[in-house]
Amino acid sequence: MEYNLKLDSFEGPLDLLIHLIEKNQLDISEISLHKITSQYLDYLNQMEEMDLEIASEFLILAAQLLQLKTRNLLPGRKAKNPGPPPQPDLIKRLFFYRQIKKVTGLLDDIQSRRIDAYNRDSDHLIYFLSRYEDLEKQRENPLEGINLQQLVQAYNRACIDSRARQKKEKETTPNWYEFEGETFTVTEKMEEIIDYCSNYPDGFSFGKMVQDKKNPQEKVVSFLALLELIKSRKVKIARGAQAEKLIIKGGMA
């Protein structure tokens, strides 16, 4: 596709026009505008196809472009106005806008150079020395090398494992199950995970922790607790020997 540009990369219709003019290696002139009018309209069509809301400014400019083009097509008008027709307002605006674009680029360069230099009174500078441990924690990614899919896989696997185990148990134990109004809280489960962490300093799998839990609600709450602990960086996750098995380790707090 010819206009596979990032659509939001244009600051407005003038920006788009400048882009089209430069892409076609034209100068800013009325002739150029005639040449790129159809490309401009194509672009708007493409935006529409992509279900993007076209800002009214783009449409107004489309109308102006078409007006310029049709004005020249009208017979008789040219004869009445000898000499060059007055420069359309749009041309002047484009010239000026192009200058603004240029200085915007220059300012961007300046800010890139300056952004790493700090002053004492920078309003944004908070005089607040982080504790070294905090810094270390900030730098450490608790989910290093793990993606969401693997996390979910580990959870699913733990569920399947324990279901299989329950099935086995069911075959050997009386055929009843008591549904009690048990409630599990995330806080409680967080504490349990922390306990596990101290019992298994080398880490443990989530499956191991939930394998004895028969109530699915308890498993879900445990998983939520785990996520909460990861978020608050109290535990970290590492990949186990089997790829889909994740090892929980404590000790980040």
Binding site: E11, I100, L107, Y118, N119, F128, S130
Partner: protein
């Protein structure tokens, strides 16, 4: 009270402790020397600090002198102090900021005419960041707000004053195109408010 024996050292002390850029005039008063002497000492000091290997440089920012950390060490400064101190200005805001910087004082309407798009959001962001401020009202219907850049703007771009802005193709002199509105932009600027 008398003048310090080592002027350069005294200037260094004043700038070192200052929270805001110190001007040559201010230093000349407290040091009881002529401004030219202070200026000379500042230049000397600047050269000292520009020797390689220093982590600090002496900058002229927003009309005065301040010490800045060298940009090579920005990453480490961010690590020790809270990060996210300075944020890049986005393209959309930057374009609006550029128009204001080169055309100030200017109303929102004029900015929008130049850009061809609404500028409300960009203006809001820039005001919030303290990079621009209301500098007056245009004396015409609706008395629209006139915007101008602030010293925080100079700071952000490391400029001593607004004249240090790059001037490609003489954009500052070349008037904006006649955009079909009465060009009374500079009249209302008379009643400047703020600093």
């Amino acid at each position: 009270m008398s003048s310090p024996p080592e002027l350069k050292g005294a200037v260094e002390a004043l700038i070192f402790l200052a929270a805001e850029p110190v001007t040559v005039e201010e230093m000349a008063v407290v040091l009881e020397v002529r401004q030219e002497e202070v200026q000379g000492a500042v230049e000397d000091l600047k050269n000292d600090y520009n020797q390689s290997g220093r982590g600090i440089q002496l900058d002229e920012l927003a009309g005065g002198f301040v010490f800045s950390t060298r940009m090579e060490y920005g990453e480490y400064v961010r690590r020790l102090f809270q990060p996210g101190l300075k944020q890049r200005i986005t393209r959309a805001s930057l374009e609006t900021l550029a128009i204001i910087a080169y055309r100030q004082p200017i109303t929102r309407g004029e900015i929008e005419k130049i850009r061809g798009v609404k500028a409300e959001k960009a203006l809001f962001t820039l005001v919030k960041k303290g990079l621009i401020q209301e500098v007056g009202r245009l004396e015409k219907t609706g008395t629209p707000i006139l915007y101008g850049t602030t010293s925080a703007f100079l700071y952000h771009f490391g400029l001593a004053d607004i004249s240090e802005l790059p001037d490609p193709d003489g954009i500052q002199e070349a008037g904006p195109p006649d955009l079909g509105e009465d060009d009374s932009g500079s009249q209302g600027a008379a009643e400047k408010s703020g600093d």
